[in-house]
Every structure is written in C-alpha cells, then in structure tokens.
Symmetry: D2
C-alpha cells in the first residue's frame, strides 16, 4: 500500500493529506492488491513476485502490489497504474479479463480483526493474480523485487519477511491457481 | 442503495451528512450488492427477488439489495445487515462462504462511464448472489418486493422498470448461475 | 470415490464392471468432489467434514465426498446424490447456485502427475464447497464422519490421515472461503 | 468439438472409433471449451473469436474452440492443444492461471436437457475465456475464424448462426468479463 498517489492528473478532485487522514478514520477505503506471477505457456504459475518495501506498520517487508482506487478511476485502470508504478514501465502486466477478484482482503487497524493489518485505515481490497511479462524493475519506494517459486513463497523464511497478512494472501493466491504446496 | 445508515451502534466513528457528502465527492465508496434468489434442492435458481424503491436517480425502480460497508464492518456482516434491512427479519439469507464476488459493480455519477449509474457518488460494489429462505417482507424505504422467474427477470417489461444498470447486473447474476435465458 | 454406483434407476445405459474397467483405462472419468462445511449466519466456514473410508489406494483415510457423474446426469444432481449417499438422508446440503467449481482436481494413476492420486483411473473432478445443515450420518462404506475446525483440518495430525491429495484439496477449499490459517 | 484426435503420440492408450462410440453412449466425456478473445492493455475484452465449422448436429455454425481431454492429459494442456489446433500455430493463447472454469457446459443428446446439445454424446465441458495474442488462422475443419465486438457477438444475426447452445455460452462468457451488453 503506497502513499504518494496525489500526482495523477487525469482525475479532478483530490483530497489533501489532512482530509485523507480524516476520511481514513471514518470510511473504508477501496484498494486493489495484485500478486504478480510468471506463468508458462500452459498458464502454470512458476514464480511469484514480491516487493521489498516499508509496510504501513513501518517494518521492511516483502509485499504484493497494492494501492488505492482513486475517485473516478476504473478498477482495472487502478490495477494497471499500481503495477506500472511498482514493477516499472517495462513490465507487461496481463490484467485479468474478469473483474471478479479471487478474494477480498479486509485490512483493519486492529491486527486481530481479520488477520490483515493496516494501522492507517480500514481498507477493502480487491485481490487479483496478475501474470506479468517483460522486464520488471522495482521503482518508487520499493527497495527490491524478487521472484520466488511457489514452494519458496510459502517457506518459513519468506513468510517471516512478510507482515500485514500478506503471507496469507500469497497462500490464497497460490491456492487459487492450484500451486499451493 | 439506501440512505439512513447512521443508526448502527456497534461501530464508533460516523460521518455527519455533510461530511459524507464531501467524502462522496472525493473518494470511491465501498458497497455490497446482493441479488436475492430462491433456489431448489439442487441449487438451481428458480426466482430472483427485486425491490421496488426510489433509486438514487429519483426514479421508482426495481432494484437489488444494495448498501454501504461501514467503517470497521466486515463485508459479510454488511451483507447480512442490508439483507435484513431490505428483506425483513424473517428472511434467512444464505451468505456465500467465499468472499469473492461474482462481479464488481462500478457506479459513477456519469451514466456513460461504466453503464452503472449513481448521481450521488462513485461506488465500488461487491456483488453476490444470495439464496434466501424464509419469509421476505419489504421494509424501510422499499414499496414492494416481487419475485420473478429468470425469464421474467430479463424480459423487456421488467427491464424497463430498472435503472442505474441494475437490469444488467441481474443478467450478469443469472449468467453466473447458468440461468440466463 | 465410491464403487457401488450401479443401482440408480433413473438413467438407462450402464457399464458392467468389466466395461467400466476398460473405460477407466482409456478415458478420463468425470467426478464431483464436495467439501462439506458448517457455516454460521454470516457465511463463515466454522467446520469441515471429513469421511473416514477406504481410499482408492486401499488405505483407510479421511476424505471428502467424491463420486462419479453418471451418463445423462446433471452435475448438480450428482452432487446431491453423492452428498446424500455419504452424509445420510437427514443432511441438508446447500448445493451452490453457480456451476463453477472452486478448483478442478485431476486424479491420475501416477501419484506424481498432479499430486492427486487414484490408482484406478484418470478422473477430472469438479470440486465444490457445500455448506450442510441438518444431521449428518456416515452411510455406506464410510466408517466415520468427523468435523474439524479450519485449524484442525490443516494440522499435521489430520493431514497425516489423508491420502490421494485430499489434504491439499482441503487447503484449497479453505483458501477459497478465506479460512486457510 | 472436433473428431480427429487420434494422432497425438504423447499418450499411450487410445480408443478405436468403435470403442469411442460405445464409451460415448455410456459415459460422460470430459471436454474443454475455450472462448477466444482479444483484450486491451487493461484487460477489457474487445473482441470475441468464433470459428465457422460443421457442428456435431451437422449444421454449419459459428462455434467456440472445443474438444476432448485425452487420457493422461492435464486440463491446461488440452486447452493449449485445442487452441493451437483451431487457431493455428501463430496464435498465442494466454491460458488462465486458475483451473476454475467460468462455467461448466453440459452437452446432452437431448437438446432440451440443458440447452446445450451434442447428438453424439453427454459431454461435461470446462469453459474458459482465453485471451489470444498473435496471428490466428483457422485450421483443420474450420472454414473461417471471425472476430466480433461484444455487441455483434450477441446480435440476432450472429446468434442465428450458432447452434448447440454456443450462443448462450458466448453470453455467459461476456457476462463473466462484464462485457454483456
């Protein structure tokens, strides 16, 4: 979940940082989460991509692509925008044809409410598995982007590097594509 | 999409009507839509329920169950709350076990943006088919609740009574359960 | 996956045991798998049901409801029939309204082909999560029917009692309903 | 649904035409259906591809890609094989990462049983929407491959050229990707 989303100029009405903070304390915020994957010619997921970045809770964590849907923005345009922002301009994300997310992630300021945690807000996030072709380069706040096999992605080592419930989100994504070990 | 959601006392921080109006002009609002259906013992959808009520555009329209997710509220609790509110206390909605909606409805103040229309706001709505047992009675603002066979539900007569794109939502729901004529 | 399916009289053309064995060595056989669950009023899965029975590989294993689709039989009628057969006549399975399975299980005679194993055949099985109300009693070949919490269902103890890949199928089902620990 | 599937040499045990006819009269046969689509960079379906070929009922019809899963064959490998066979070697089908079909098509020799018709057999078909890049050329028995916009694909003209229930399958596919007019 990234912060600096204020620069898009294709939409008109934005919230100041202060207003956003007030809204975040009163309303659920709409997000998209994208689990970037590499697939082979038969559609098998062979690798899962994870960003290394500062999580909402301040820890340096492995995370999926995640960000807010802006006022007036279509869900799939938000997916494109956040994938480009986090994976770089040479990445070719294959946005799913169906708008139905494989799961809905409910982030709460209370870490025990759903297992998904965001100290800043209550966010309702539509989660998609997004096959990515092309060359991926971490940009913006991301320190690194690494690719893991399904087995590595659910290993204790990698899980210990994840917070906010993103380790569970990865397991759900792998289950959805029948690659959960 | 109903208005008077301010009375729930299990959550703490609410928006005044004024604040809500400001938020609605700046942020996408999270909704749930529920298409109430009657099913037989093998799970076949035999009837679709539609409310007659004042739509956000002011017209009297046939509509599905629809309403906002509150701050701190789980998606499935919002589904229960809105089904109870619109179908009455004797209705027994069977909330789906999976959080994945069959489609995501994007309502915009511009009726041409997505085909789903809400003059008040940009709403991102998670849409579910909800089998309902028990006795359903329209409550609150609803003038009527009627049940239609799948063929009737997509007929020109019933479609002409729907606005906001809810006629299309009904067709998507029927396609999802393989009952689109 | 049960054997004695020869008694249904609503369909006409059956295979002798010999013919079935020949067909099983040449053609993929169509199956349904049902993961029986208990849900609360908000649709949360609280328990997973597992049968104790003789698996196709001869072991005594914890298994989901599983069986063949007969010639001329609708998928959802096969689901009803196998749930009744395995859970008893007092069980009230809530067959999903959508025909789309949450995953497709590919059983092969080679245990390494997909991780799902059936020494008798190549079976392609449509897998559903089926909420069950009413009183469940194991019948026919089942020795026992036990209910487990999601955490118990994926615990090493219960996993060690499962073969054929059914432990993985349970994890996929729990991921689908957002209850994978 | 194509006939000449006997040439694949990667699998071992095949049925003679006679044996296949017997099996088809006694057992449901497992199929895959693929609805080929063109998508834009945001995943929106812009066109639907339809083959012109001799349908199982003998008519010359517009049809989706459809064919049998062979003994020992993975579902996704069958999808690749049938897409290659029907769309040509220069087509680049993007096989979905999830094995879950958007619907299950039940073809019966009785045209009134489910609305999906195949005079030769009872087939249970896993149906997928498959985005296709690259150059598509009809091959084998197909007389033509044409691309239609979503509006054209559900128009009376195109619908009148379809049999076997494939017109309904197209509507379900378009509903799934939120492009049903």
């Amino acid at each position: 979940m990234s912060g600096a989303e204020v620069t898009t100029d294709t939409h008109e009405q934005w919230l100041s940082d202060d207003d956003m903070e007030v809204a975040r304390s009163r309303l659920p915020i709409v997000y998209v989460d994208a689990v970037p994957v590499r697939v082979d010619a038969a559609g098998n997921v062979t690798q899962v991509g994870m960003l290394l970045r500062v999580a909402p809770d301040g820890s340096i964590s492995r995370m999926v692509v995640s960000g807010r849907i802006l006022f007036g923005e279509r869900v799939r345009d938000a997916l494109v925008r956040h994938c480009e922002k986090d994976l770089g301009p040479m990445a070719l994300p294959r946005i799913p044809a169906s708008p139905s997310p494989f799961t809905v992630v409910e982030y709460f300021p209370d870490p025990d409410r759903s297992g998904y945690y965001d100290p800043r807000q209550h966010a309702v996030s539509l989660a998609y598995v997004v096959p990515v072709d092309g060359d991926c380069q971490p940009t913006q706040q991301a320190l690194d982007l690494a690719w893991f096999s399904p087995a590595e992605a659910v290993s204790p080592t990698v899980r210990s590097q994840m917070t906010s419930g993103h380790d569970r989100l990865i397991r759900l994504a792998l289950a959805h594509v029948d690659q959960l070990p």
